[in-house]
């Protein structure tokens, strides 16, 4: 019995909690990608850098707050700085839309042209971010590190294995739940949200109904900027902030969006967790779990691991490929938000 509990604790500590955390980050990122796809109809390669930009502004504000001694212990100060980060990122995305995307939208350019344009934006933002904050690692986490320490858990339960819950993990999961709920409430219950869905569903009919496309596009960018800033900051809090990493996040984020069905917000969220858990499940070393559950005298040489941890990134790709082969429209067959 204790063995089973130990095994479960092990899984909880190394699979479930990290999976929920990482999944929430991906889901928020994929939601942004999916909104752009649903309304503006292109795959936005600049999304990773938008996340990095939002996180960067948040970090700069956090440092400012820290230097004047403002904090919200035990929560990380960054949470206080996020609104400013969102505001600046909103201004940035609206400026980029005004000076870059709008021209191509008015000319009804091919989606691939938009995709290349978004790569141009990615370059520009990447340079800007590195210019402002540098290419290195930035740590901006403060506040209480652990909500539940492994040692405390062991003392509490008497088990050999510990379960820990980091502050950043709890913050990430709770924020994601709040944001996603708010997002769906907005899309399904407000006039503006519904007009976004209508525009995404049928652009011409939306025009005939008197929906103003410029307004829909503007609202979309505002939401995307907010989602990107939050996702970027949460990821940075949980791991660390490094500009290059955000470009690498692009693949799992796109995979999440496609697996769920591009353009479908429910799909994006489901996709985020599917990708996150697959990554962890396939690269987790089950040796200790098997030892707990197996017979007393059992010995194991191997780590009982499907894939080396280095191949984490390959997992999202493999799932992407499987989805493309079996059901290219994704699990939730999306096209519209």
């Amino acid at each position: 019995m204790t063995d089973v509990l130990n095994a479960l604790t092990l899984l909880g500590n190394f699979l479930i909690i990290p999976g929920l955390t990482y999944g929430s980050q991906l889901a928020l990122g994929a939601l942004g990608v999916t909104l752009v796809y649903g309304v503006l109809r292109f795959s936005n390669f600049g999304h990773g850098e938008t996340m990095a930009f939002g996180a960067m502004v948040t970090i700069l504000v956090t440092w400012g707050l820290q230097s004047v001694g403002i904090s919200i212990q035990p929560l990380p100060t960054a949470l206080l700085a996020i609104p400013v980060g969102i505001l600046v990122t909103v201004v940035l995305t609206l400026l980029i839309d005004r000076f870059v995307y709008r021209y191509h939208r008015e000319r009804k350019a091919n989606p691939v042209i938009f995709l290349i344009v978004s790569i141009g934006v990615m370059f520009f933002l990447g340079g800007l971010i590195r210019f402002i904050i540098g290419p290195g690692d930035q740590i901006f986490f403060d506040g209480t590190r652990f909500i539940l320490k492994a040692r405390e858990f062991k003392q509490m339960t008497g088990l050999d294995e510990g379960l820990s819950l980091k502050m950043t993990q709890a913050v990430t999961i709770i924020t994601a739940v709040i944001i996603v709920t708010a997002m769906f409430w907005f899309l399904n219950h407000t006039r503006t949200g519904k007009s976004m869905r209508a525009y995404s569903d049928n652009e011409n009919l939306a025009l005939l109904s008197g929906i103003n496309p410029d307004r829909v596009v503007m609202i979309t960018w505002i939401l995307v900027a907010a989602l990107a800033t939050i996702a970027g900051t949460l990821y940075g809090l949980d791991k660390s902030f490094k500009p290059f990493v955000y470009m690498q996040l692009l693949l799992p984020i796109f995979a999440s969006a496609i697996v769920g069905g591009v353009g479908n917000p429910v799909g994006a969220i489901a996709g985020g967790y599917v990708i996150a858990f697959s990554e962890l499940i396939l690269t987790f070393a089950y040796k200790k779990v098997v030892l707990y559950l197996g017979p007393e005298s059992m010995e194991l040489e191997s780590l009982v691991q499907f894939l080396g941890t280095d191949y984490k990134i390959a997992v999202s790709f493999i799932i992407l490929v499987i989805v493309l082969i079996i059901k290219p429209t994704g699990l939730f067959s999306g096209k519209t938000i």
């Binding site: 869905r197 209508a198 569903d201 049928n202 009919l205 025009l207 109904s209 929906i211």
Partner: protein
């Protein structure tokens, strides 16, 4: 002058004109039907009236105002409603949301208008929480018409509303259209089913290759042997 009038319209999408000196008009409370063979420019004439086709010559008058230069969405605000032939509902949204979107330009309460549409199409009330994409063809057309009615248009333009629906559903749709006309709405529609459409029409336009060929009351056109022979299959 008619309540809505496309006068001497000439124009097309590219270099070649599709419409030649074509005139279409309709009065309040009246049903006008555009019929003609395939490729006669029926839908094009309707789109020209609605501003979806650049005109080289001619003008469009609506309620005593020249609207030739207005964009389609601006004409909607003026009181014109348009139901496209295809892609005329928001498939991922519920019936009720479709109606709400139809009333997007209106700021006052729309509950009455929704109730009115439900009175007209009772089946929609039953299905109001269902995504429009899951409905049958006839029901979808009802949603499409209902959506266009939500702006309280003074003129309702329908592009082949009965395309792809069964004869029974067609009759039912025509009945509804007559009811709408009785609410003092001008109705202009393009129809493939010329005979049935002319039966309910106050005015009929027979177009051939972008020209007005015959213009008369529906009854008179049905009685005209030349029209019968050439366009109504005897």
């Amino acid at each position: 002058m008619s309540f809505l009038l496309g006068e001497q319209m000439t124009g097309g999408y590219g270099a070649a004109d599709i419409l030649h000196n074509c005139s279409i008009g309709v009065e309040k409370g009246e049903i006008a039907v555009i019929v003609g063979p395939n490729g006669a420019g029926k839908s094009t004439a309707m789109k020209a009236v609605f501003g979806m086709l650049p005109l080289r010559q001619g003008r469009v008058m609506f309620d005593g105002e020249d609207v030739t230069q207005l964009k389609p969405e601006e004409r909607v605000v003026k009181g014109m409603g348009f139901v496209p032939q295809t892609h005329n509902v928001f498939t991922s949204m519920t019936v009720e949301e479709n109606l709400e979107m139809g009333a997007f330009i209106r700021t006052e309460s729309i509950a009455d208008s929704i109730a009115q549409v439900y009175d007209l199409f009772p089946i929609l009330k039953e299905k109001r929480k269902q995504p429009a994409g899951e409905l049958s063809g006839g029901q979808r057309q009802q949603v499409a018409v209902g959506r266009a009615l939500m702006t309280h248009p003074k003129v309702l333009m329908l592009d082949e509303p009965t395309a792809g629906v069964s004869p029974i559903v067609m009759d039912e749709l025509f009945d509804r259209i007559i009811e709408i006309a009785r609410l003092d709405v001008a109705i202009l529609m393009v129809e493939q089913n010329a005979k049935q459409a002319l039966e309910i029409a106050d005015k009929g336009y027979v177009l051939v290759q972008g020209h007005n060929r015959f213009t008369d009351t529906g009854e008179a056109l049905l009685a005209n042997p030349e029209v019968r022979k050439a366009f109504l299959g005897g």
